[in-house]
Symmetry: C3
Subunit: 160 residues, 3 copies
């Protein structure tokens, strides 16, 4: 880790499409400006990292229930406002297409290509009954200690 | 830009009255302590900058719909909790009056008088179909690069 | 105040159990790494500091109404997602027990034992009609100036 590089560290707690978009747009921008960027996904923010297909893993009853009720992957997340039972995201995505704005799954891909470190909070992965196989490739697993190590050296720290 | 000045940079993503109040109270406080303060309004946070009268501008069908459904200006924003279909904001405002707490539109005015830089995120202005004429005077338009330039030198960076 | 210590300053605005958990887990982690940590509770975040029993204090009609409708203490807070009229928190707490994750009231106790400074925002305490007797022991009362003094020296600043 070059210590002269600026650092941007984002906690993505929210499971909303629009908030995750904001997180990834800032992350990609910071990476383009040569920051070392980490997105630490916790609680509902983990949904952005889920694969969109069903992965057969053994789960308890509660874990199955959580898995069912949470969106499977970035593309299925709802809006923090004007969600209208799923119509809102479709409207926003159609407007985004018209304006050539990258959709969230592509923003995540781009972040990975730019070397943004995507971390899944181990504690909440366990709580929500998710498994490593259910998350996209290239995600690291860590806890609050690793987050703080990054954040306490950070220039831009955000909780989204 | 004097480099010895402290910097406070706030992303206002939320369209809630109470969250916007928190953002503007912190911003005004920081300006009073001589920080260079920027509020970068994105997504629903842009509603705080809308003029309260209808501005006749050409819009597509979807843009008209967004414009209708989003609150027109700071005074019409709802609460993040206990909104009760618009009764909550009225209750809070009546309590605020009793306690001589400044309402949001005045907090915004005060921020402008104190030289707080109010920025509207160009990308989301376009997405939501807003136009420059619909926002209050004195707002700058910029993107994530400008935000990061401010934030990466910042002492206090918040995402609200 | 030793100036060589790192500082973590969190604004807890949210009244959600899961967001407050995130705030207190980060705060406890930072305290364990020897940061000076402050949690500044404002608006709905004040509910985390309420005692769980009813305290007989004189209140106006509106203040009584707020007091009734807001959760009385950390244990009674709802989830930001999948709350399902209070079933969600019970499910999460049962999963947390299985995984030996500390519940919020214990996280708050631990923070106090570790010397995390718990501050209640005086302005919003007044707005919501809360009184000092209704909040847990050891809480300080302060305003935006005190917050900014801490935050502007901070390494990790978050708004949750």
């Amino acid at each position: 880790m070059a210590d002269n590089k600026k650092k941007t560290t984002i906690v993505l707690f929210s499971g909303d499409y629009d908030k995750a978009m904001a997180a990834y747009i800032i992350a990609n921008g910071a990476a383009a400006y040569d920051h070392e960027v980490t997105i630490f996904h916790t609680f509902w923010g983990l949904n952005a990292l889920r694969k969109d297909e069903a992965i057969p893993v053994q789960k308890s009853f509660l874990e199955k229930m959580f898995a069912k009720m949470m969106p499977r992957g970035a593309d299925k997340m709802g809006l923090s406002r004007m969600n209208f039972a799923g119509v809102g995201p479709r409207l926003i995505k159609s407007v985004m297409k018209k304006h050539h704005t990258m959709p969230l799954p592509q923003l995540i891909e781009m972040a990975q290509e730019q070397g943004v470190k995507l971390v899944a909070c181990q504690m909440t992965v366990d709580l929500l009954g998710l498994t490593q196989e259910e998350l996209i490739e290239g995600v690291e697993f860590a806890g609050v200690a690793a987050y703080l190590a990054d954040a306490s050296e950070g220039n831009v720290n955000l909780f989204i």
